[in-house]
């Protein structure tokens, strides 16, 4: 991972499973809109982002 993506990964809140999925799909979680009040990216958020 590049320095910038790891920095952005650190600022994003997401369950480890979501991170892993995003990593496998080469998706930067910082780009994914969140459905949660604290900005956490859920698995459905990630899936919705994929369907966009």
């Amino acid at each position: 991972a590049t320095q910038s993506s790891s920095v952005s990964a650190k600022t994003v809140l997401a369950a480890p499973a979501v991170r892993k999925r995003a990593f496998e799909l080469h998706i930067d979680l910082a780009q994914v809109p969140s459905s949660q009040p604290n900005g956490r990216i859920t698995m459905p958020d990630l899936e919705a982002y994929l369907q966009r």
């Binding site: 369950a15 480890p16 499973a17 991170r19 892993k20 859920t42 698995m43 958020d45």
Partner: protein, 325 residues
């Protein structure tokens, strides 16, 4: 035959005494009185005072002398009247029984079973309900077994007595007579170290043992009714060593987990399960693992224990939280 857990344990002890002449039972009030819960009912009558005998009121001596008997070649099965009194014999259990093999470089062994009732919800005096299993994670050399039903109780006790190392066998008081279950009168074993998938499920893994297994099943039923989600309920059966494979494979599938125990939360069995999941399947986790446990206070008096103990409502709420996206 339909047996309560008391009957199953009594049956197991009789069987063990019959099969293996090296076995002796000792403890407070286990002879004529048959034990305060009657687990050893009629065993002294049947096997004699040489095989089944009362001891003076001294837990350290019960465990310490059992260590000597075990080294000699016997298979002592010692009863501590309530698990809370294990603290009194803690040194003999942890630094002696658990380490005989270790200290002697494998020359001497200590095939000793220490049985003790424990568990809340039965309005007992203090120290009668305390759950000590979490303590033994930090005391290497001991196995810890907690059955949740009569069938397992018998099979696990037979395995514990056959085990070449010391086993702490904790019996939940609430389960002692709460239900009967078909239990063979003949010899069989349930292996130590193997968890039991009581109910398969896809959406969340629920780990429990002892009296928390029925609580877990109750909560699982409610969840399924209310949400349609299926809960995989796993009865750990052996607390140490934990069946890590079973734990990890379930959560790898579900991505969500709840652990239930009566013992305090801090550093308990739940903490170790969370740690195992962290180490072995963190990337499967969709939500924080929930611990539904006793609080980090001493076990309270009878009038307050209901406010202390995990119950189906607490477990159901935890499952609900875990099921959120």
């Amino acid at each position: 035959m339909q047996m309560t857990m008391i009957e199953a344990l009594n049956n197991a002890l009789a069987l063990i005494l019959e099969r293996d002449q090296r076995v002796v039972l000792l403890g407070q009030d286990i002879g004529a009185n048959g034990g305060v819960f009657r687990v050893t009912e009629r065993l002294q009558e049947r096997f004699g005072e040489q095989r089944v005998f009362d001891t003076p009121l001294a837990e350290s001596a019960i465990i310490g002398s059992s260590v000597g008997m075990a080294v000699y070649g016997m298979r002592p099965v010692a009863e501590i009247q309530f698990a809370g009194f294990l603290y009194v014999g803690m040194n003999q259990l942890v630094t002696q029984a658990a380490r005989m093999r270790f200290r002697s470089g494998g020359v001497f062994t200590c095939p000793l079973v220490v049985r003790a009732p424990y568990g809340g919800g039965v309005r007992t005096p203090e120290l009668h309900s305390d759950s000590l299993e979490g303590l033994f994670l930090q005391t290497p050399g001991l196995k810890v077994v907690i059955p949740s039903n009569p069938y397992d109780a018998k099979g696990l006790l037979v395995s514990a007595v056959d085990d070449p190392d010391p086993v702490v066998f904790l019996e939940n008081i609430k389960l002692y007579r709460s239900f009967r279950q078909e239990t063979p009168e003949d010899y069989y074993t349930v292996p130590l170290g193997k968890a039991n998938v009581v109910q398969a499920g896809e959406d969340v893994s629920l780990f429990a043992y002892g009296a928390m297994v029925p609580v877990a099943l109750d909560a699982a039923r409610q969840i399924q009714q209310e949400t349609g989600a299926t809960v995989e309920v796993i009865d750990l059966r052996t607390i140490w060593p934990l069946d890590e494979e079973a734990i990890v494979s379930s959560v790898s599938k579900t991505g969500r987990a709840v652990v239930v125990h009566e013992a305090p939360r801090a550093g308990g069995v739940g903490a170790e399960i969370v740690s195992i999941l962290n180490e072995q399947c963190l990337y499967s986790l969709l939500k924080p693992v929930e611990r539904v446990t006793g609080y980090d206070t001493p076990f309270p008096v009878p009038g307050q224990e209901d406010y202390y103990l995990p119950n189906a409502r607490k477990v159901r709420d935890a499952i609900r939280r875990v099921l959120e996206p």
